[in-house]
């Protein structure tokens, strides 16, 4: 069996929504270069809190790029509230699975979306429960998924 599903390879080979948004309403960056993966997510959000555009930049392995790409697809056109509900599991399922040792990439993708939404809230003075955005550093992330 190949390392990755066809869906993962498709999103790796033809990543959706790659790029940056100069006037983004929210930008989130997670991961660190030392550990080998960084994801940066840009959101354009309208007055109804709908994500009208999303772009990403990722430094990382095949699954890091594929999970970023899939996450952008899953949240585009959704409200920020809906985007916050995106789970890493949903990303994995949408990609027809990931190898166990690559699951942390999907966690990073989920975290990147949340970090971008938090940035949007912060910039616009929108109140939120800080508990919803407990910062997780890269090492915790890896431990979190039993790496």
């Amino acid at each position: 069996m190949a390392l990755y599903s066809e869906k993962v390879m498709d999103h790796f080979r033809n990543p959706r929504n790659v790029g940056q948004i100069d006037d983004a309403d929210g930008i989130g960056e997670v991961g660190n270069a030392k550990c080998g993966d960084i994801m940066r997510m840009y959101l354009k959000i309208d007055e109804n809190q709908v994500i009208t555009d999303v772009k990403f930049n990722t430094f990382g392995c095949g699954s890091a790029i594929a999970t970023s790409s899939m996450a952008t697809e899953l949240i585009k056109g959704k409200t920020v509230k809906e985007a916050l509900e995106l789970s890493n599991k949903a990303v994995v399922e949408a990609l027809d699975g990931l190898p166990v040792h690559k699951l942390h990439c999907s966690v990073l993708a989920e975290q990147a979306v949340r970090a971008a939404v938090k940035d949007y809230y912060d910039k616009n003075g929108i109140a939120y429960d800080p508990e919803d955005f407990r910062d997780m550093d890269e090492e915790e992330l890896h431990e979190h998924v039993g790496h």
Partner: protein
């Protein structure tokens, strides 16, 4: 175009090796331990193979023990020296930071059994210093084990000098020569090597066969218990066809070493010259003393696994020392041992070429790698920060 550029991982079986082994699969398939003449044909083939392998290393045939490969040979050599040393109260082992895991993990195991291990620095150039070794040697040193050439970056170690020093100090010296055998001249006598491991599939023999050279007088401990094969030191019915193929392949590689090297070096140098034009790239390890075919470079701002996947799509087989390809959180211990920062080591690429490669294939690599690197940099937040001056270039 399909380009196999991972010859340090494994090689194709040569026509010579294949033809040599085939009769021992279908016709002379007897068990070498059987008494009847049909079995003895296989025994003779083993003996001839032993003589051939010994000749290629300048050893005595009785000093060659066939194994399942390089890892088993490394395991047996190290464990044997440790057991011998322990009997004399010597429980100190010396090696280097960038050995193959077959060596490092065996040393780890012995450490848990109460041995003390010193791992020598390999410096930025990927070469062990003799003075470091001399300083590390103690009264209770039971073994020095240093690889001939590194599997990831290709740097060659001062084996003859290490051998001479160990002989002078009367310390057994084991050498993991898996990357060198068939590619560089090896003379166990002149180099004062007491034990040496080789692996067939790195020089056009099949996988699953290797050999351990152990100088007369080196008492080996068994890793595999059972029958009396290999002078009682390695049980199990011999992989006759594989052994015959390995001997044929080694003989062929050694006979054509100069012309193979002459063919490989210009291809390798072209790779280095052209790929070095990629901005913020770095050649890993000194090129002064180097196995012919190994090219290891880092490209800042990208990650190795995605690089490999894209090269695969372009038909190029290569490898990387990134964490994602090593299956752990850390990038390759070899790249860290030569002092590369983690973030740089993640962006490493190893191309290992052999005499079967062509200049057209090299040109395909040279055309593809820069495109892939620049594509991946285009979507990399790390590269973005480097470009904007928000992050310092490390290479």
């Amino acid at each position: 175009m399909f380009v196999y550029a991972d010859n340090a991982a494994t090689t194709s079986v040569s026509k010579t090796a294949l033809e040599a082994m085939l009769p021992y699969l279908t016709q002379n398939y007897g068990n070498p331990s059987s008494l009847y003449s049909f079995g003895q044909k296989a025994q003779e083939a083993l003996q001839q193979a032993r003589e051939t392998v010994a000749r290629c290393l300048n050893a005595d045939p009785r000093e060659i023990y066939f194994t399942s490969g390089g890892s088993e040979a490394d395991n047996q050599a190290i464990v044997s020296a440790a057991r011998l040393g322990a009997r004399k109260g010597k429980k100190h082992l010396i090696s280097t930071k960038f050995e193959h895991h077959a060596v490092l993990h065996t040393l780890k195991k012995l450490e848990k059994e109460g041995f003390e291990v010193t791992l020598l620095d390999v410096h930025e150039d990927g070469v062990v210093r003799l003075e470091d070794l001399e300083a590390a040697i103690r009264e209770d040193t039971a073994l020095v084990t240093v690889m001939f050439a590194n599997n990831e970056i290709g740097t060659v170690q001062p084996i003859a000098e290490i051998g001479a020093l160990c002989r002078e100090k009367k310390i057994p010296f084991h050498c993991d020569a898996v990357q060198a055998a068939g590619h560089m001249p090896i003379d166990v006598k002149a180099m004062n090597i007491d034990m040496l491991a080789i692996s067939g599939h790195k020089f056009h023999a099949p996988k699953g066969v290797g050999a351990l050279y152990a100088r007369k007088g080196m008492v080996l401990s068994n890793i595999i218990e059972g029958g009396a094969q290999e002078r009682g030191k390695r049980a199990g019915t011999e992989n006759v066809a594989g052994i015959v193929a390995m001997a044929a392949a080694l003989e062929e590689s050694c006979a054509h070493m100069e012309e193979n090297t002459a063919k490989i070096i210009p291809m390798r140098d072209k790779l280095f010259a052209e790929l070095s034009k990629i901005p913020h790239s770095k050649i890993n390890g000194s090129l002064e003393k180097h196995v012919p075919g190994t090219v290891n470079m880092c490209f800042e701002g990208i990650e190795g696994e995605s690089l490999l996947l894209m090269l695969d799509d372009a038909g190029i087989c290569a490898s990387s020392g990134s964490a994602c390809t090593s299956g752990s959180l850390d990038p390759s211990h070899v790249l860290l041992a030569i002092g590369l920062p983690h973030e740089v080591a993640h962006g490493s690429l190893r191309l290992s070429i052999g005499e079967y490669n062509t200049m057209e294939e090299i040109d395909h690599i040279i055309e593809t790698v820069p495109k892939v690197v620049s594509y991946l940099r285009g979507m990399s937040p790390v590269w973005d920060e480097l470009q904007k001056g928000q992050r310092q270039h490390l290479i």
